[in-house]
């Protein structure tokens, strides 16, 4: 067994809930690509500057496929969610295998389509806002708004029958509960997986192609029929990636606006609201420990040699605060044209649901403050409970009064 590594760990201790750990500021200045060690002893490269993060995420020699690799792990962290092995999906495929699957999915989720979804998202949002009003002051926006709205939307997009949506949402909710025991979370994941498996089977028998799963199951991918297990994997990916992430961004959006109340009015205007949401997204790269890739070949970058087989972590949160790109990196600044943030990643794996996510965050925040103009969190936004120890950052709860 090798000696314990003397390398620093991935910075994980925030000193303020709105900002990445301060070590990143120093790393960007002194060592944009540096060595670090995961708690389980696996070493890797940590990339912290905007330009280097983008360059490496666009490099085809960095693989997203961790299927046959002993993965690095944060397992020394307590409360880490257990994992049920899921079938392969976009996030385990490199080009050229990735390319036709990616196209089959992103064609369903274009910016134009996301705009067309706006009225329906607003309608669903208002339904849940009525429930918030019924619950009354002290209602938790995470449980009653931020989680169920994206879940309902993705149900409708995938084509989950209305009668099953409640079950579907319940399981999805269990998966994002923090205190839930591992067996309960695993059971929920399995229940969703089995449910989607059956749904895909049903959709294969039907000629109905009015929803995404109906079309995907009948699609030909690179000339071949789409295999059942991969369609189920893609459905799970769309569900999981499209649910918790958006929910957390909505919560962080509310918290951020508490400190920037003068910007709430911007939400009423589509262009201004869009710019505001971009800044909220830039401030909060919720995949808080970055994204992991593995070098499939030797890579030279800025005089650094990344050897074939080595792990690379690209810190999206740090790249979004790069002083060389942003005049006002640590505060919401809608006043000037900004470099595009990397919260959705970069390269061919950039978030397939980014347009839907943008629309959901903007519409939910807009409708929320239109319904409750005086809305405020029950405690100072800095004192809410944040998901410091979770892969996907955000708020555990967001109790509000109005």
């Amino acid at each position: 067994m090798a000696l314990p590594s003397s390398l620093p760990e991935l910075p994980r201790s925030r000193t303020h809930p709105f900002h990445p750990p301060p070590e990143y500021d120093q790393l960007r200045k002194e060592s944009p690509i540096s060595r670090f060690v995961w708690p389980n002893g696996v070493e890797g490269w940590l990339v912290t500057t905007y330009s280097e993060v983008r360059t490496l995420l666009a490099d085809p020699r960095l693989s997203i496929n961790r299927f046959n690799s002993p993965p690095p792990s944060l397992s020394a962290i307590k409360d880490r969610k257990p994992e049920v092995m899921l079938p392969r999906s976009l996030v385990a495929m490199d080009p050229p295998e990735h390319t036709p699957w990616r196209r089959a999915i992103v064609k369903e989720m274009t910016p134009r389509w996301a705009r067309s979804m706006e009225p329906r998202i607003a309608e669903i949002t208002r339904e849940y806002l009525d429930r918030v009003r019924e619950i009354g002051p002290g209602a938790d926006l995470v449980e009653n708004l931020a989680l169920p709205v994206p879940s309902r939307v993705i149900c409708e997009v995938l084509g989950v029958p209305q009668a099953d949506q409640e079950f579907f949402q319940e399981q999805a909710e269990v998966r994002s509960q923090v205190g839930a025991p591992a067996e309960k979370i695993n059971a929920a994941t399995r229940a969703l997986y089995e449910y989607l498996g059956q749904l895909v089977t049903d959709k294969r028998k039907s000629a109905n192609t009015s929803d995404v799963l109906g079309r995907l199951v009948h699609a030909r991918i690179a000339g071949e029929p789409a295999p059942h297990d991969i369609v189920v994997g893609q459905a799970m990916l769309l569900l999981i990636a499209g649910h918790e992430t958006t929910a957390n961004m909505i919560g962080l959006g509310v918290a951020t606006l508490m400190d920037n109340r003068e910007l709430i009015a911007d939400l009423a205007d589509t262009a201004k609201g869009t710019a505001l949401v971009e800044e909220i997204l830039r401030m909060h790269a919720i995949i808080q420990w970055g994204i992991v890739r593995r070098a499939t070949d030797d890579i030279e970058i800025n005089g650094i040699h990344i050897a074939k087989g080595e792990w690379v972590v690209c810190s999206l949160a740090s790249a979004n605060r790069d002083e060389s790109r942003y005049g006002c990196p640590h505060a919401v600044d809608t006043g000037q044209a900004q470099s595009p943030h990397v919260t959705f990643g970069y390269g061919v794996h950039q978030c397939a649901g980014q347009s839907l996510a943008r629309t959901e965050v903007r519409v939910v925040l807009r409708e929320l403050f239109a319904a409750f103009p005086g809305l405020r969190t029950t405690v100072a936004p800095e004192e809410l409970r944040y998901r410091y120890e979770m892969w996907v950052y955000g708020l555990y709860e967001c109790p509000v009064v109005w």
Binding site: R102, R103, V106, K107, T110, P111, P340, G347, V348, S355
Partner: protein
């Protein structure tokens, strides 16, 4: 005048170009970029540079001619 070159093989279908400059770019049935205007007017040089920079797959190049 700027000349736009798109690489449809590289395109990953994010559609950011068609959203930002619908008079120049569109997305086809398969989400892949469709170039509507190869020689856009000179006043689009700056927004074209932004779009080329934002493209996640590096599928857009703008050259001066």
């Amino acid at each position: 005048m700027p000349k736009v070159i798109v690489d449809r093989d590289r395109c990953c279908g994010a559609g950011l170009c068609a959203q930002a400059l619908p008079q120049v770019f569109d997305q086809g049935e398969d989400a892949v970029v469709v170039l509507l205007e190869e020689n856009p007017p000179a006043e689009l040089v700056a927004p074209l540079a932004d779009v080329a920079f934002a493209c996640p797959s590096g599928a857009i190049r703008v050259v001066e001619q």
